[in-house]
């Protein structure tokens, strides 16, 4: 890894603090290696994928036919999601459904779940959107 000047300064300061007047070549090497590891650790923060409240809104619509709700809920069950609320309407041949789903206990992250549901949507020939609850809260609640 290449170090910037400010990083080098940081390492030097740490070394001075830790060693004081007892510096030996071996000790300096150990301290520097430790500081470099620490810096690398800072750089490689784990990717945060979880959505905080764990609640997402699943919306689905398309032409009505038997098996849509069954297909969607089965996939959600298999993914380990918990359905908190469902509302569904049929307008002539057009069906719309909206669900509040808790995905915090799911083994799939939001992205994976979206991919799974995209496949389900293709099979059922409907549209499925999954979005974090916050976007609705921010837009429609003051």
């Amino acid at each position: 890894m290449s170090l910037s000047e400010s990083e080098l300064r940081k390492i030097t300061l740490e070394a001075i603090e830790e060693l004081g007047e007892n510096a030996t070549p071996q000790l300096v090497k150990e301290v520097v290696e430790k500081a470099v590891r620490k810096l690398e650790g800072e750089e490689q923060r784990p990717e945060k994928t979880s959505s905080d409240s764990g609640r997402v809104i699943l919306t689905s619509f398309g032409m009505n036919h038997p098996g849509i709700v069954a297909g969607i809920t089965k996939a959600l069950y298999e993914a380990g999601c918990d359905i908190l609320d469902i509302s569904q309407k049929i307008l002539s041949d057009f069906y719309t459904m909206m669900m509040v789903v808790n995905i915090s206990s799911s083994k799939q992250g939001l992205r994976e779940l979206q991919e799974t549901m995209n496949k389900v949507a293709d099979d059922l020939k409907v549209k499925i959107y999954i979005q974090h609850e916050d976007v609705f809260r921010y837009m429609h609640r003051v």
Binding site: S2, K48, T49, H132, F136, Y138, M139
Partner: protein, 453 residues
């Protein structure tokens, strides 16, 4: 159910049908600690600092995009104006800096990096003059670097020497990028009263009063506003203003949420949200169409300026209620080449540069992405820039000019860039010469702030 059916469907309609997207998340990075007497070390410092902060910029934005189902069209970077951070370099040095910015932008995967900029409304340092000389070369030798220069402000007046230098720079940039329809000029904007936290290119830079690093964002949504106006039907103008305000409120709230989430992933402060209605060349994403939906026959008709003024004001009011972090330009943009409705109006001869100039006195930016004949005189370009600055100086607002004197092209020809920059018909400019006026040089003094009639 915590949300009404209509509410959820409204959001889905906005994101899926009406092109509501976050136009840009722009990471501002200070480069003020990157100067070194040795140019090679300076370059190394610039590169490693940009990579240190921005290497996850694109992936974090994509992550938030998926989470909320709202697309983020562009991920960009803005840095401290190079003329300030690297004061002391000569033109050659600044070109080297532009190249390293270009490389860093490419390596982190952003399409534009802003900050090849200078603030010279009152005067130049020796190095700032060098930097302006370097602009045409920097823009022709890089792909992703964009440049802006502020030449006027309400507090300082208009630096006519700077205006003349920028007119020359625009002309030279057009010539050096003639193989690509003078595309360099699309990356060069001349400002009056420039905001220091603007996330939109080509004017983006990280102002000197900004933090070490921050995340600014710009929302877009002419399509959403257009549909809201269409759905409102025949209502009076006060009610129409309400409709626009409510719509802008919603998209600003969603925008701020996205911006804060991206900033939180980076662990950096959220800066501002710029609530500009920014068109794209996509059909239905047009400010001209919004103005037509408001009731003018086409852009350029009498009443266009009034309609735009009302739109711009309502957008600001809705946004200000929605967020306490509003900044940047915040208003409505009227770039010609990036807006299908504007392009059509220009083709039909419905709008002229003069009408566009009037419109810029009430909207958020200025004469933007306007192609003019390649043989337009340098002094005429300076005159257009000076006119635009005068509007900004007197009205205490931001104005700008992004003119493309398309090399070798005449009125009726086209410049075509594809993508976000779109295409534009070359428009006529007045043949009358301002040469004797602009060549006087010096500075138009700052205006008085009272007796403002």
């Amino acid at each position: 159910m915590p949300y009404e059916f209509e509410e959820v469907l409204e959001t889905i309609k906005m994101t899926e049908i009406e092109h509501f997207d976050i136009r840009t998340v722009t990471m501002g990075i200070s480069l003020r600690d990157c100067y070194d007497r040795n140019l090679e070390i300076t370059k190394e410092k610039i590169y490693s600092k940009i990579l240190k902060y921005a290497k996850n910029h694109v992936s974090y934005a994509e992550q938030v995009e998926a989470q909320f189902g709202i697309s983020i069209a562009n991920k960009r970077i803005a840095v401290t104006p190079v003329s300030i951070a690297f004061d002391g370099l000569d033109a050659g040095g600044f070109i080297e800096v532009a190249k390293v910015l270009d490389k860093a932008a490419k390596d982190v995967g952003v399409d534009y990096i802003g900050g090849f900029s200078a603030l010279v409304q009152k005067g130049f340092t020796r190095s700032e003059a060098e930097m302006i000389k370097a602009i045409p070369h920097a823009l022709s030798q890089t792909e992703r670097v964009v440049s802006s220069v502020n030449v006027a402000s309400t507090k300082a007046g208009i630096n006519m020497d700077a205006v003349n230098m920028m007119a020359a720079a625009v002309k030279k940039t057009a010539e050096l990028t003639k193989d690509k329809d003078s595309v360099g000029c699309a990356k060069l904007v001349v400002f009056c009263n420039v905001p220091e936290d603007n996330p939109f290119v080509a004017g983006a830079f990280h102002g000197v009063s900004e933090a070490e690093v921050s995340l600014n964002m710009g929302i877009s949504g002419p399509g959403v506003v257009l549909d809201a106006i269409k759905n409102a039907g025949k209502v009076d103008l006060q009610q129409l203003a309400e409709v626009i305000k409510k719509t802008t409120f919603k998209i600003t709230r969603a925008g701020e949420l996205i911006g804060r989430k991206v900033a939180a992933l980076h662990g950096i402060p959220f800066g501002i949200i710029d609530i500009s209605l920014a068109p794209t060349p996509a059909e239905g994403d047009s400010i001209a169409d919004v103005l037509k939906a408001m009731g003018v026959e086409d852009v350029g008709a009498a009443g266009t300026t009034a309609a735009l003024a009302m739109l711009n004001d309502a957008v600001k009011k809705g946004g200000l209620m929605a967020s306490s972090s509003v900044g940047g330009m915040s208003g409505a943009f009227i770039p010609v080449s990036e807006d299908q409705g504007m392009i059509r109006a220009a083709e039909k001869g419905h709008i002229s540069i003069e009408k566009l100039e009037a419109m810029t006195s009430v909207c958020s930016v200025g004469l933007d992405m306007i192609a003019i004949p390649g043989d337009t005189d340098e002094s005429t370009i300076a005159g257009i820039i000076a006119d635009e600055c005068a509007i900004g100086v007197i009205n205490d607002k931001t104005t700008s000019a992004r003119l493309i004197p398309a090399y070798g092209k005449k009125v009726g020809d086209y410049v075509d860039y594809g993508g976000l920059l779109g295409r534009a018909p070359v428009m006529k400019v007045s043949d009358l010469s301002p040469a004797k006026f602009v060549s006087r040089g010096g500075r138009i003094p700052a205006p008085m702030r009272s007796l403002t009639n």
